[in-house]
């Protein structure tokens, strides 16, 4: 039985495939985000009430996206999402098993949220083509910013006067984190182009957004940009050569 309830807009097969994949990543990515915030809550009970609230918000985002999908004849592509999210989950599980709260904060609160914010912000420019999605994405985007703001404040306090420690943490988490999440950004770039967004603009927004978050916690501007661009460049080169990034 096809879950596609209605297809109010006329889309090409490529466009339908692209939006199915992108919304699949959004729906199941939000579930992974919920799981990561729950893991963080277990590691630091003093933050558990807030982090569990974040987790419920993320799960709620996934539910809202599913509703929006039904209205718009979109079927979240679970296989695509699982393939993209498997590497992220294994990293998150490893950090959680090590009780590494700070690594999870950088991975989820900075890297994953940067991808989400960059793509959701961009989606708002075409949301009118998908009835009901503008309100959903606006709400979700505001809540993602709320999560990022808390993580930024936490990391600023945690690494107050310890910028070198923060740099080492970021370098350690980024090696796999950007390879994974940045790789997903490259892998969805073509699909973003297909639905009349710009994959490269989204990638640029993610890089700029993530660099700004690093600056907010203590990186110099040049160091932040060099660090982020340096991690993305190998992925971009693979993308340019038509190779899979993950």
């Amino acid at each position: 039985m096809d879950d596609r309830a209605a297809a109010p807009a006329v889309r090409s097969a490529d466009q339908q495939d692209a939006i199915d994949k992108l919304m699949g990543l959004a729906v199941f990515g939000e579930k992974v985000a919920a799981r990561i915030y729950y893991s963080m809550a277990e590691i630091k009970p003093e933050f558990a009430p807030l982090l569990k609230k974040f987790a419920r918000m993320e799960a709620g985002h996934g539910a809202k996206f599913l509703e929006a999908n039904k209205v718009n004849g979109i079927v979240a592509d679970r296989d695509f999402a699982d393939n993209e999210l498997g590497y992220l989950l294994s990293q998150a599980d490893a950090h959680a098993a090590a009780g590494d709260f700070n690594a999870l904060a950088v991975l989820q609160g900075f890297i994953v949220e940067s991808l989400a914010i960059a793509t959701y912000e961009s989606f708002l420019t075409i949301a009118d083509a998908y009835p009901g999605t503008h309100e959903v994405f606006s709400t979700v985007l505001a809540e993602e910013h709320y999560h990022v703001d808390w993580v930024s404040r936490y990391l600023r306090l945690e690494f107050f006067d310890a910028e070198d420690d923060f740099r080492r943490l970021v370098e350690r988490v980024n090696v796999q984190g950007i390879d994974c999440v940045g790789g997903t950004m490259m892998n969805i770039s073509h699909h973003l182009d297909t639905i009349c967004l710009s994959g490269s603009q989204c990638a640029g927004a993610m890089m700029d957004g993530y660099a700004q978050l690093l600056q907010n916690v203590g990186f110099e501007e040049k160091a932040a940009m060099k660090h982020v661009v340096g991690l993305f460049m190998p992925l971009i080169q693979k993308y340019r050569r038509g190779e899979k990034t993950k």
């Binding site: 490269s200 640029g204 927004a205 700029d208 160091a223 340096g230 460049m233 190998p234 993308y239 340019r240």
Partner: protein, 218 residues
Amino acid sequence: MTDLAVTNGQERLLLTILRSFEALAADQYHRTIGVLLGDEKHHLLEQLDAQVPTDEALETTDLAPPVKHLLTLLRSQDKIQVLIVQGLILELLGQTIYKTVSESAASSPAMRRLCDQGLHANAETRRHVVEALRQEFPQRDNPPGADLLDALIARSGPVLDQLNTLGEGLDQHFGEAFGIHFADLMAEFASELLVVCTGLGADRRRLVGFLTRIMMAG
């Protein structure tokens, strides 16, 4: 005159490429914005000419066609074009290359000394470039820096795209020899460019988006 000769083949190849670009830049500065052509740049060119007086080291490699194509794209007598593409972008890229090679343990003493001279020339030129950009693009526009960014995007795209094409060849020829990797060069270059341009009022998000689009374009 140089008292140390660069004899290593890879070093001579890199110096030949650098000489081609430095010579073109010097010619363009002379014709359009004389203040950018200072004593340090003259001195660098003399040293490069002494070390690699011909293109022989380049001609037999697969880098010759893309390098020549890039040089062709760069030829312009337009003051703003020269200021942005040569003065801003290629000087920053040159700085990155000179710095990387100068710091590479694999570089010969003669190569290191030449690269240090390159850095001196580079710093001298860049001081005037930033001032010239401030004069050409005063921050009276709204939003600030928009005119500079518009000009940079309009004029540098083909050159950056060709640089990107050249990137893989550079990795093959210089990756092992000097530990120069295009990805690292671009990271250093892009971060410098962003800092300079935001210092002149340009919107960083828009510039990062532009650079990402160029780098991702196949």
